[in-house]
């Protein structure tokens, strides 16, 4: 059984059906990619999988447990961590504080009211490690809101990593980045590959076809194709509609 499975997910907003029938499965210790045109429903799919929206039909299984319709915090606590396409940070906090808040050890003590968080050097060390891992060593005390766009993109991933996830979902991590910054971010994601089970939504085909073990194509609210990058390159439909840019 796969680490994460979604069966027959259906989601509509009013009369607009966004997800018709989504079946996905992500294996552990793999990097799975999700691609699809604008407005295909990729982000909505992540939102359903991570509890932001309840699906109208269908089932989500994580490590065999049915997590359909759980609240986002419940799903996060089970070890599913995500980043956002539209960046979502604690802007007034320093880079380090952003990560501290996300650490499971801090979360478990969330209702501790009388001990000082800034005196907890163990947590600070752990947060610093994550910061270094996403290439922001030395930026500990800079406000997240003051970081450059590319740095914020890295911190966005850092916050998701700090939660020590068993499954990491990244929604268009290179969104808005130039060529150089995209390459750096690809390196970062590649470096995470050996330690985490990852799912990445991407527009940038090259990015995914280089990195992913398997890729699913979402279109019209359905998974229209999935397989290894090699297999997908041969897929007629994929070739015709999306891969012009890769070859």
């Amino acid at each position: 059984m796969a680490l994460f499975e979604a069966h027959g997910i259906h989601k509509r907003f009013g009369h607009q059906v966004v997800l018709e029938q989504i079946n996905l499965s992500f294996e552990s210790n793999q990097l799975s990619g999700v691609i699809g045109p604008n407005g295909a429903g990729k982000t909505t799919c992540f939102n359903v999988l991570t509890g932001r929206f309840k699906p109208d039909r269908g089932q989500v299984l994580f490590d065999g447990e049915d997590i359909t319709g759980l609240a986002p915090n419940g799903i996060a606590r089970r070890g599913i961590s995500r980043s956002f396409q539209i960046m979502s940070l604690f802007d007034e906090y320093s880079a380090l504080e952003n990560l501290l808040i996300a650490l499971p050890e801090v979360r478990k003590r969330g209702f501790s009211m009388m001990r000082r968080l800034d005196a907890d050097s163990e947590a600070a060390d752990r947060a610093s490690c994550v910061l270094a891992r996403v290439g922001l060593a030395g930026s500990e005390h800079r406000r997240a809101g003051d970081l450059a766009y590319g740095e914020r993109r890295s911190l966005e991933i850092g916050v998701a990593l700090a939660a020590e996830p068993r499954l990491l979902l990244l929604d268009e991590p290179t969104s808005g980045l130039g060529a150089d910054a995209t390459a750096r971010l690809a390196e970062l994601v590649r470096s995470l590959k050996s330690d985490y089970s990852i799912v990445v939504i991407e527009h940038d085909m090259r990015f995914l076809f280089d990195l992913a073990d398997t890729i699913s194509v979402i279109h019209w609210g359905q998974v229209i194709a999935s397989g290894t990058p090699e297999a997908l390159r041969e897929n007629k439909w994929v070739r015709r509609s999306m891969l012009g840019r890769v070859e």
Binding site: N73, S88, G110, S112, M113, R116
Partner: protein
């Protein structure tokens, strides 16, 4: 000795000592300034109220326009306890805190899934409900006149008993309560709990997605802040020796919001104290010059909201942060860190 210093250092900051020192000496210099001892009592009580309110407004980003309800509930609870049950200072205060905590906790159940304007509107609605009850439930609250002749019970410490009849004695008692509130809240806002509240203020969605039960944190912040408002209310009913619905009105609830914002509750722990001091000085100094002082204070509020939403503390931080005033800055740092 060093160990003691370390412990004290962990609980008490330099600004805190300075702040309390100014207040401790207040009864000595307030009359030469042409003011009166009772003003000190009022200031200290409203500071307690303000610090508790800012846990909600400044730290959690939750605007309550109905907090007067909990201040009032504390006042009524204290008065009813003394008159109906028996005269006892500390038990009366504990009763008042418990009553306002419970009321706050119940209201918070209806508010905690809301944010922004919807949250604010709900607090107004609930505030009005409590205010209405206070006016209409004549048998319990005394209606518009309120509860009269609330005693100021003596403070019993070991075998001695300290009367709080004089305003100076009551001032020092209220100041001790304020000191405890400040030490506890200072600690709280630097604890994981306080840091999560601030994270929720900045980005509720992300807080939820890293695993926090945002509802529960909002609920706790609201209930705690209501309990502190009730604590202030109990002292207020002693100060006034009465409890009346006026303090629960929308107008009174609005004043604590103004104080906190003008002082700079969003950028400084000390914001509410600054705002309370400015308000009462405006009332008693401007008030002797013009009957329309509240108009001028309201104008100040409008100016702050328009041009300096970070309030007086924010303006001060900016002034101190630019260039030549670094030394003063290190001494009087008003920041949160």
């Amino acid at each position: 000795m060093d160990a003691l210093q370390a412990i004290v250092g962990r609980w008490v900051s330099r600004e805190m000592l300075l702040f309390l020192l100014v207040l401790v000496t207040l009864p000595i210099w307030i009359e030469p300034f042409g003011l009166y001892q009772y003003l000190g009592v009022e200031i200290v009580i409203w500071m307690i109220y303000g610090f508790g309110f800012n846990l909600l407004l400044g730290y959690s980003g939750l605007p309550s326009f109905g907090h007067g309800a909990f201040f009032g509930i504390g006042a009524y609870a204290f008065g009813l306890f003394q008159v109906q049950i028996f005269e006892n200072l500390l038990l009366g205060i504990m009763g008042a805190v418990a009553a306002s905590f419970v009321a706050g906790a119940i209201v918070a159940c209806f508010l905690s899934h809301r944010r922004g304007i919807y949250f604010a509107l709900m607090t107004i609605a609930f505030g009005q409900v409590f205010w209405f009850i206070a006016i209409k439930w004549h048998a319990l609250t005394g209606g518009e006149d309120g509860l009269l002749n609330i005693p100021r019970p003596a403070l019993e410490v070991a075998v001695t008993s300290v009367g709080l009849g004089s305003n100076v004695a009551l001032f020092y008692f209220a100041l001790s309560v304020l000191a405890v509130v400040i030490v506890v809240l200072w600690r709280l806002v630097h604890s994981p709990f306080g840091k999560v509240l601030q994270a929720i203020r900045q980005n509720e969605t992300r807080a939820r997605f890293v695993g926090y039960n945002v509802w529960l944190f909002k609920w706790a912040a609201f209930s705690l802040s209501a309990a502190i408002a009730g604590l202030a209310g109990s002292l207020f009913s002693m100060a006034q020796q009465s409890a009346y619905p006026d303090v629960m009105s929308l107008h009174a609830s609005g004043i604590i919001v103004m104080m906190t914002l003008i002082g700079g509750g969003f950028v400084s722990f000390w914001g509410p104290a600054i705002g309370v001091a400015v308000y009462f000085l405006a009332r008693d100094v401007l008030g002797t010059m013009t009957e329309t002082w509240l108009l001028w204070f309201g104008l100040l509020f409008v100016l702050v909201v328009l041009f300096k939403p970070e309030g007086i503390a924010g303006a001060w931080q900016q002034y101190v942060g630019t260039g030549s005033h670094r030394r003063v800055a290190s001494l009087f740092r008003l920041g949160r860190k």
